[in-house]
Symmetry: C3
Subunit: 259 residues, 3 copies
């Protein structure tokens, strides 16, 4: 029995969340609904994409992921069903899908809807579609195959022979700063050379990578590749983002020793 996950910007002190769960249980009473997050900042498709991108593959294949962020649809913004790595994603074509996937999806369907879907009523389209998939309806019967979706380009790190110019893309629960510098990129450019990591231009410098947070004393700045393989500027049991005034887009530069 597939799982239905929810990633939304409907804060838990609102009535939208109860409404969508009620709608799902009314149409597919056996659904297992999993809350991924309901604390996406309003309309922030970048945050929603980051969370879902780093979460979805932990679920069993066949899981149905509803994206309830900036959902308002219309003729120029259809609701889509996308199959990617055998997971289903249902949401509005507002640019989020371009941030979510690394390669082309296996299937993109534009959901057939009435001409006008006013206001928040779009959630019924999402829940109806999710429950039909859950109940075994063939996806192809729910929409028209299309070639692509709105593309948004995530900000990537820029490189030259001995430098990676990256940036912070996420501040996590512990106020650690996750960057867009992957371990793969670091290894490829660095070729095992000694390095210095500069945080916010030249304000702070780190010259080693930790294996564990607790290798470094509480309160000291450290760098670590986290569980999703991205370089993280962190502090063991401290709040590095506040102390170093780091936020999304802050500059993180890695300089390797010239050969």
């Amino acid at each position: 029995m597939p799982i239905i996950t929810l990633t939304t910007d409907w804060n838990a002190n609102d009535y939208y969340l109860g409404a969508i769960k009620g709608k799902i249980f009314s149409q597919c009473p056996d659904a297992v609904i999993v809350d991924i997050s309901h604390q996406i900042q309003p309309f922030n498709i970048h945050q929603a994409a980051f969370i879902l991108r780093n979460t979805f593959s932990n679920f069993p294949v066949g899981t149905i992921h509803i994206i309830g962020v900036n959902t308002e649809g219309g003729h120029d913004r259809p609701f889509l069903i996308i199959r990617y790595e055998n997971h289903y994603f249902i949401g509005t074509d507002n640019g989020i899908f371009g941030l979510l996937f690394s390669v082309e999806p296996e299937m993109i369907l534009s959901i057939k809807t009435k001409e006008k879907i006013p206001g928040f009523s779009g959630i019924s389209v999402l829940t109806d579609t999710a429950c039909k998939l859950f109940n075994g309806v063939q996806p192809e019967s729910l929409g028209t195959s299309i070639k692509s979706y709105k593309k948004r380009i995530p900000i990537r790190a820029a490189i030259d022979e001995s430098v990676i110019n990256g940036s912070v893309i996420y501040i996590d629960s512990y106020k650690n700063a996750i960057t867009n510098i992957s371990r793969e990129l670091f290894d490829r450019v660095g070729k095992n050379r000694p390095f210095e990591i500069f945080v916010r231009s030249n304000h702070y410098m780190i010259d080693k990578i930790n294996n564990f947070y607790h290798e470094t004393s509480p309160g000291e700045i450290l760098a670590i590749f986290n569980s999703i393989g991205l370089l993280e500027i962190a502090m063991n049991m401290g709040n590095v983002a506040e102390l170093l005034d780091l936020s999304v887009n802050s500059s993180i530069r890695v300089k390797f020793r010239e050969e």
Copy 2:
């Protein structure tokens, strides 16, 4: 198998929530528990009633809704089971039921309890009752039929021939301001006449109703009938409540052209 929903003012960083879920699963292991909200402001029965009123009918009939807001009971404040539109509501007779229902419920039972239910222990009454209903016990055997509950009158919009004097009753996740002016009232008084909506006396004026939020440019004030049929003062991708200093009870007046 019925669903049990929870609407409480026990914030998620407290131990009450885990306790109530544990109690439910101990008594009815097959329960599907759905969190409607645990972010009701302490004792705010108006907020709880607004959320549950606009949520419950999305669930299947037979759903059991536990209300954990201002629950302390006693001789003058019995715990009630109410059947309304074939849903069950269990809570303390603290005035919330008067805000929750539009017409008389089908059944009102006062739950039999020991003389004294000290402090927070009242939640056991709620969970015991919910699980007995869940397990198929006849509601009539759980309490004594009574005629009514404490009434609280929600603030309604006042009308004359060409004016509706309403007010903000809720600020949602997107900081849009939901009013007590329904589409039905608007159409009945307005009879398709041109109109002006005045936000906070005469500070801001709107003279059209949107079908979609995104018809209006981001940052511009707009009016729309939302998914629950209430007039909403909103901003596409903006925070109208903060910008216009709107809060619950702020005045919203609609003036139709005199005939």
Copy 3:
């Protein structure tokens, strides 16, 4: 079918929570996952222990409790499986278990892991272990029996013949201040003598214990033994912690009349 509960400091606006739930459902699709709290302050094992201690026994025996607070493990901080009152607790040996249990557990196992468990990857150890227990694997096959875990001593109230010197150990959702003075201790020292409770040295005094919050008018300070048997300094429908500037560790002294 056992339940798996989660108590973590991974705020709900992060991707860790979705990841752990996905991992669980991938390995034990029939799991019922219950969120106890995801709003533990980062690394605050005292808060996590307080919540779980006062929650777990409401669940059916056999429930598996995952503790996701300060989880980073290593050679000096093994991951443990502990059976206590026929519940299972899985977490890192970071001191929390000493705060969680009143008597010696029935079983303590140190989980066998690879030499290095870098960074956040430790959650896989927790979820793998929980799912193996869920799927019926014998706990003894998952780890090595050990004698003890890291002890942390919770701050206890000090007593002499006529005085209890206690302190605030928790501020709840309603901003009431829960103390470390149990009803049992109060009765044992007090022997039914008249008393005065001094809040923050001599700033505020209370000389009775309520049975109900609402016995006292809104806005007045009161004392009550709460549902977990601890003395609570509270205010009916008010915010006592803010008004009296109470926080964790604030002094609460009970003085009984000398005989």
